[in-house]
């Protein structure tokens, strides 16, 4: 029997039961009450009751119809028909019209007979709800989904060059992000089956210099782009679909990437997404030139410079933030940018600060976008101390109280700070972003968080905002980070001495540890004295948790997991060390993990030597441990650790397993030497010594040191050493690096070299100074993104 027939029979059966029940109830009622005054020949109900009951059916039936038709969670899509295929939309509309008209007809019937009208209305509306929300695909949604055209979005990653032109197999598809249905793509774009003939001609060899060698990256304009397709049942993992060849151009620059592996495709139910990783070398150079111009202007950007820089969007912002990591004065440029755009320097009181916040809120609403990591975010940080905390709290609590969901509101960054972002919804497929806080809430959340980080944060944050986050949104993690008396009661009055959750409401999922008791976890992150007391009392629970990862072996990356962050942040690394050592001894590459643990617990250098003796590993294990931890140690500690380990090995070479012959000992010395090279000062001294040494032809001579510094490390200590070198040839090697990053310090060094005693050095330096002067005078708009 067809399943729809079966459903229909069920309906009719239910209807009959309903009628029978009503009839029986009526008979029973009349008999039990002994009534005889309602015979069939009694007068009909009055006009008041007929009109009233008709209106009630119209009103409540209409309400039920509206909620059924509009509640998306139960299949009501009447007001979102544009998101359905035409056939499904038509079926949806037809069902809604039948149900709606049915309600009106029932209201008309009620003008004469109420009972049939009510029964008919209930049946109709129940059937309407059933059609929309039953497991049976009455409206053909599933079938339509299978046949629906798949929208494919192709975008670029690794750059914010929005609006780059995209060609695939020679066909211009438009500007990125390109959205096209797969059917249309197949119609418009020919399939070549083989790489284009010009693929070899468009190769761009990008040399990357290191002190002693060159690596040549071969980039090409042609990027392989796989046509996304629904994974076929039984297909081999990693099986590839048809391959096309894409090219992207931004202004005059062609995007470059690796031919294979630069693009990735995902395939959802209704959409496909492909990203092509390219860089635009010309664009990158222009952006770097703009940064040089602002260095030449002593970090005081002009209005022209800012307007040119803004054309790079998030790429510009990211390049400034990156430069500011080892060039702190770049922060002045960021602040000047925030000031130029939002007038942050003119903010003198709470009212003017509120005007800036309000403007950023309006911008966020208009652009449907806000992120902490932007010039607007920096402006918020600058004005936050001046904002009226009470007014800010009122706005924040209103957002919290009225938002339906807050799931995507924030995330914790690597440094433990919260980032508030409202991402632009670019893909179809629904991330649920339309059901979160409005974009304007994000600057407010950021301002609150910035105020909470002040040395003396406003009390209203703990008194109003943190409780509101729990009360209206159950956002306990961020509330715990804000702290306060009410939040403490909410968390600490739970059973926190277990690490296992009691039921699903107590659960928190922790990667590698599974579900844990969230109250224990929240207590461990609680702010203030209560949090400190809690952590002291629950130290053993944390140790217990650390011993129960779902992955039995401790592997690389384990120590950057959150429970270990807690362990080291509270200074319990030493106390847990014996247990950690016992648990991990003998595992693959365990010395590497041991030393990483010691690095994080800030252990004295002699402990590295002691653990080496205890581990008794072979020299390959030692090499892995040195290579891995050399990147983690601060230069000063690195030197001390290297000395301690070297002394231990020198005293007793047998602590390294099988290190019996001279060759193995020489290898160990080489590993230690490489380990020390992670200290820039040591590295610079070693390179200087080699540069001064005889010209070796075995590849060990740092013949590319000058290019390496200019390209990759213009702030390396070697630059200063070269500039100070008595040998003219070495001084000359410093010039490209000084020119590559014309900071005030570097310009002073260049000026000194421009008056050097050696004519060659002097001439080269003067040429560099001239080039920089010319660059400083050029209009920044020449370097704007095209």
């Amino acid at each position: 029997m067809h399943r729809y027939t079966f459903v229909l029979i069920q309906f009719v059966f239910l209807l009959l039961i309903l009628f029978a029940a009503v009839y029986a109830a009526k008979r029973l009622w009349s008999r039990s009450a002994g009534r005889d005054f309602g015979p069939a020949n009694a007068p009909a109900p009055s006009r008041a009751s007929r009109t009233g009951e008709s209106l009630l059916i119209l009103l409540l039936g209409g309400l039920t119809w509206f909620l059924t038709a509009s509640t998306r969670s139960t299949g009501g899509m009447l007001f979102d028909l544009d998101q359905l295929t035409p056939a499904v939309a038509r079926a949806n509309l037809a069902a809604a019209i039948v149900a709606g008209v049915g309600v009106v007809v029932c209201a008309l019937i009620a003008l004469r007979r109420t009972i049939p009208a009510v029964i008919l209305a209930v049946t109709l509306l129940s059937a309407y709800g059933f059609i929309l929300n039953s497991g049976f695909d009455f409206l053909g949604r599933e079938a339509a989904k299978q046949q629906a055209p798949i929208e494919w979005t192709i975008d670029l990653t690794g750059t914010d060059a929005q609006g780059a032109d995209l060609w695939v197999n020679g066909v211009h598809l438009g500007k990125t992000p390109v959205t096209i249905t797969i059917d249309e793509f197949l119609k418009r774009v020919p399939f070549w089956g083989a790489p284009p003939e010009t693929v070899g001609e468009d190769v761009l060899a990008v040399p990357e210099h290191f002190p002693k060698w060159i690596v040549e990256r071969k980039l090409t304009r042609w990027i392989e782009l796989e046509l996304p397709s629904r994974p076929a049942r039984g297909a081999a993992p990693g099986a590839r679909g048809p391959v096309y060849y894409a090219k992207a151009r931004s202004g005059d620059d062609w995007g470059c990437g690796y031919t294979r592996g630069s693009s990735q495709s995902t395939f959802g139910d209704e959409y496909a997404y492909s990203s092509i990783g390219v860089t635009f070398p010309g664009r990158d150079r222009r952006l770097e030139t703009l940064l040089d111009q602002v260095r030449l202007a002593d970090y005081r950007p002009s209005a022209d410079w800012l307007s040119a820089f803004e054309t790079y969007g998030p790429d510009g912002w990211n390049s400034l933030r990156k430069a500011a990591r080892d060039e702190p004065r770049m922060q002045e440029v960021i602040d000047a940018w925030a000031d130029a755009r939002y007038g942050t320097s003119r903010v003198t009181d709470a009212d003017s600060a509120w005007l800036v916040l309000d403007r950023i809120r309006r911008e966020a609403e208009a652009n449907r976008q806000y992120t902490t990591s932007s010039v607007a975010g920096r402006a918020i940080e600058l004005i936050a101390p001046m904002l009226d905390p009470e007014r800010l709290a009122t706005a924040a609590v209103e957002y919290i109280r009225t938002a339906r969901y807050g799931g995507y509101a924030y995330k914790m960054q690597d440094d433990g700070r919260y980032e508030f972002s409202y991402p632009r919804q670019e893909r179809r497929g629904g991330d649920g972003l339309d059901e979160q806080y409005p974009p304007g809430a994000f600057p407010v959340a950021h301002a609150v968080y910035a105020q909470s980080l002040l040395p003396d944060p406003p009390a209203v944050i703990q008194a109003q905002i943190a409780p509101a986050l729990i009360r209206w949104q159950d956002k306990t993690d961020i509330a715990a980070a804000l702290g306060g008396g009410e939040v403490e009661k909410y968390i600490l009055r739970r059973d926190t001495y277990r690490i296992e959750p009691k039921d699903f409401r107590d659960r928190k999922y922790l990667s590698n540890y599974g579900y844990i008791n969230r109250w224990f976890w929240l207590g461990m992150h609680l702010r203030g004295q209560a949090g400190r007391n809690f952590r002291r009392l629950h130290k053993n629970q944390l140790f217990e948790l650390l011993g129960k990862p779902t992955i039995p072996n401790v592997m690389e990356g384990t120590l950057s997991q959150e429970p270990y962050d807690l362990l080291f942040a509270n200074g319990w690394g030493g106390e847990y060390w014996p247990r950690f050592k016992a648990r991990t001894a003998g595992q693959n590459q365990f010395l590497k993990i041991w030393w990483e643990y010691l690095v994080r617990m800030d252990a004295p250098p002699k402990m590295f030597a002691e653990t080496l003796r205890e581990a008794h590993v072979d020299n390959s294990e030692l090499r892995w441990a040195l290579e891995h931890n050399g990147k983690l140690l601060e230069p000063e500690r690195l030197r001390a650790v290297a000395d301690a380990v070297e002394q231990a090995i020198d005293r007793d070479p047998a602590i390294i397993k099988d290190a019996t012959d001279d060759w193995q000992r020489r290898e160990i010395k080489k590993y230690l030497e490489n380990f020390r090279q992670n200290d820039p000062q040591y590295c610079a001294r070693a390179l200087m010594a080699q540069l001064r040494g005889p010209d070796r032809k075995d590849g060990e001579y740092p013949q590319f040191a000058g290019q390496w510094l200019a390209e990759q490390k213009p702030s390396h200590p070697l630059v200063g050493m070269l500039e100070q070198a008595p040998e003219a040839a070495l001084r000359q090697k410093a010039i490209p690096a000084l020119e590559a990053r014309p900071t005030p310090d570097h310009r002073a060094l260049l000026d000194r070299l421009a008056a050097d005693a050696d004519a060659g050095v002097r001439a080269a330096a003067q040429e560099a100074v001239t080039r920089l002067s010319q660059l400083a005078r050029r209009n920044p708009k020449e370097f704007a993104a095209k």
């Binding site: 009751s49 509640t71 007979r113 109420t114 209930v122 739970r494």
Partner: protein, 215 residues
């Protein structure tokens, strides 16, 4: 206002009000956890209380009502005082329960006496629940009163009124269940049921004139 009539009607509600107030206050004061987690119980209680109130005031076939209708009061006065008594009976239960929630009494007891983690943090959220309780009374009482009045008409189809009332109540409870306070759909449901209550009041007042009272 006819005080004697009103008091007579209120006397009929006295046992119901006493029991209902005790249950409502006890539950409101002692139920653990935030009130939104046990939303269904107050709604069921209000339904039961409304049934009790309207049946105490709406069983017109009893000798007591036959006696009352023979005391010379106009039908308009009888109807308005019956409605006022029903409202007063509901308020007599709602007000103390609402005060327990709105004043820090409930929060204080759970915070200090039971050391509940939810208090005082959830007290403002509890406070918004009481308005839904009041609105449910305001919607249910006229609907049910209409059911009794309609049933006592000397006309055919007396079950029709009850069938409509039962369908309206079931639909209303379902809609309360799928909507959240403060959101548009909930306001729409509350508004529609307010309007339905008004229709029932107007129609009930007109029908009351033709009410059949029998010993």
């Amino acid at each position: 206002m006819k005080l004697r009539l009103f008091l007579w009607l209120m006397r009929r509600l006295r046992p119901i009000t006493t029991v209902a107030a005790a249950v409502a206050c006890g539950w409101t004061l002692l139920v653990p956890g935030p009130l939104y987690e046990s939303r269904e119980w107050p709604l069921l209680f209000i339904l039961a209380h409304s049934i009790a109130i309207t049946s105490a005031l709406g069983r017109f076939m009893t000798p007591q009502f036959a006696w009352l209708h023979g005391r010379g009061y106009s039908r308009a006065a009888l109807w308005s005082h019956t409605m006022a008594a029903a409202g007063a009976g509901a308020l007599a239960v709602w007000i103390p329960a609402a005060l327990i929630v709105a004043t820090p009494a409930r929060s204080f007891v759970h915070d200090r006496l039971f050391t509940s983690p939810y208090y005082p943090i959830m007290q403002p959220r509890d406070a918004i629940e009481i308005w839904q309780w009041l609105w449910t009374y305001l919607a249910l009482l006229p609907l049910m009163a209409y059911g009794w009045i309609r049933e006592s008409q000397p006309t055919r189809g007396m079950m029709g009124g009850w069938l409509l009332v039962i369908a309206a109540i079931i639909a209303g409870f379902s809609m309360l269940n799928i909507t959240r306070p403060g959101e548009f759909p909930r306001e729409l449901v509350n508004g529609a049921y307010g309007l339905a209550a008004l229709i029932c009041l107007i129609a009930g007042r007109r029908l009351y004139r033709a009410l059949e009272v029998r010993r």
